[in-house]
Symmetry: C2
Subunit: 316 residues, 2 copies
């Protein structure tokens, strides 16, 4: 932190409608999903990951991807992105009007087999026609790497693996890669070290960070990334999320907690804290639970208690 | 973090027996307290804050201070410290055989009135005879400052207030001051900035940090303090703790979470992670709850899952 000048502003992408909703056991009705996304769009957030165009048998919770997108198409001030696992998904997303696709692969073969039933190399080959298709339709594509710091099957992921995967993304013409700590195994020292090398090796690549708070390290990891000049972060309202294939995974860092901490540090997010806390409450009411949210428990620092007076105390 | 060389080793003081137990509504039987302290003493921790010699009417949960100390007096490898609010408490602690006393005052008059029914200045005057008494008995004394970063009644605490209070401690001959974020209002940028000034103003003072995780910022604050070269931290097994007078306060950073994160960063604590997690489980079983512990929920990063095989997945 010593010589770091923290960025004045960061850009948050809200991922609860995809990473959160897909992890719920219960079916969330389409109109509820649309209602939450519309409420999120009113908080000041600039970017929302709205769904995944995945096979309905793989993730039935998101089988209504087209209808969800239809229900929010008038919200032109928000950048909507959607996850696409294959060409079919990309075709569906583009047909639905999505302007930004997100690719996802795992850093390790073990996690890739568990999550996508293929090896990392196979996943990468599958991305090439998606990128071609997107270019043809003038649609943006971002890459992502799950379990980028630690894998629940293989442990710590060596930096060289990440360098190799980012390089492959770069060769496909991709200029933005999200590094996901899918099961909360990253630590701040590692995040700082990995990003230091990655930013040097890939000076024109935009890195965004996706931290789960499984072991309580998410915010410390955000601060480490800030110290490396990263300004793009994913977070999830009410701390929803997790990976259905990653044992022990709990929620993403909660958007309201991230906004609160950044605001306390004097870093702008553009998101109104009171509004995002209200959405978090709605989400908790809707689902009957949250995914770990300090704001829902304690509220912001700025909410002070009435001062006691000496008189009051002396009368006790 | 850029030019910071993290310390190789930090020293943790376990505070659950004081800060945790005093916050419980239920009465914890003396023999249970002794059992937990004895289990803690077996984890590799070097220092434990065992109780507070406070008036039994003020904090009835700790009215058994003498009996607790009696029950652990054979554990000579551990440095036991106790909180003393006044001369009477100091006399009791010294008579019980405690070799390190901790003084506590608040950074703000509002919190001081609420917590100790006196102004900060009155609290400071009250410390002088305690320091004299301790010197006479060759007993160590450390100072502490509650709500050192933010006060639930007054908001952000100006750094100048802390400088003035530390200076007063220094003039009393005290060489160690604990900065307590009693209600979880500190942020990493503030911690880094405050410590930067304090370490420059008081180069011979040892600062220790006591962070509550009320708003999820405790670990990020620890990392910020590490980056300023601080190596003394308080934490509480199972995340117990809080201040009975501080509205909204939840637990201290959990010892098992702190040990886990530091270990992941390659920083030694001397505490066996598996043993401290076992004590946290015992504490949770004893009390019927914890105070927020990621290790109790998700377990350590090192606990990997069995690898899936391609074959298994293909047979699905």
């Amino acid at each position: 932190m010593s010589d770091a000048i923290f960025p004045a502003r960061v850009i948050i992408c809200e991922v609860a409608p995809r990473d959160g909703f897909q992890s719920e056991d219960q079916w969330i009705p389409t109109e509820q999903k649309i209602k939450i996304i519309r409420a999120l769009a009113n908080t000041g957030v600039q970017s929302i990951e709205v769904t995944s165009f995945v096979h309905p048998k793989a993730i039935p919770q998101l089988k209504d991807a087209e209808e969800v997108v239809k229900g929010i198409e008038d919200l032109t001030h928000i950048k909507f992105r959607a996850l696409v696992p294959n060409v079919k998904g990309a075709q569906r997303a583009i047909a639905a009007g999505i302007k930004k696709l997100k690719l996802m692969l795992s850093a390790t073969d073990s996690h890739s087999l568990s999550n996508a039933n293929c090896l990392v190399e196979e996943a990468q080959r599958g991305f090439e026609p998606i990128v071609d298709l997107a270019q043809k339709h003038n649609v943006e594509v971002g890459g992502s790497i799950s379990v980028a710091f630690g894998c629940p099957y293989e442990g710590k992921v060596p930096l060289e693996k990440i360098v190799t995967i980012v390089d492959r993304y770069k060769k496909m013409g991709i200029t933005e890669v999200s590094l996901a700590d899918t099961t909360g195994m990253a630590n701040p020292k590692q995040v700082y070290q990995y990003l230091g090398v990655l930013k040097k090796e890939f000076p024109h690549m935009t890195f965004s960070m996706h931290f789960h708070n499984t072991r309580g390290m998410a915010l410390a990891n955000v601060v480490a990334a800030l110290q490396q000049g990263v300004i793009h972060f994913d977070s999830s309202v009410a701390g929803l999320g997790g990976c259905p294939y990653a044992p022990g995974a709990t929620g993403n860092i909660a958007t309201e907690d991230l906004v609160h901490s950044l605001e306390e540090m004097g870093i702008e997010t553009g998101i109104h804290l009171d509004r995002i806390i209200d959405v978090a409450k709605d989400v908790r009411n809707m689902l009957g639970h949250d995914g770990g949210s300090y704001m829902l428990q304690a509220g912001p620092c700025s909410k002070l208690s009435p001062k006691p007076t000496a008189q009051e105390k002396l009368e006790k």
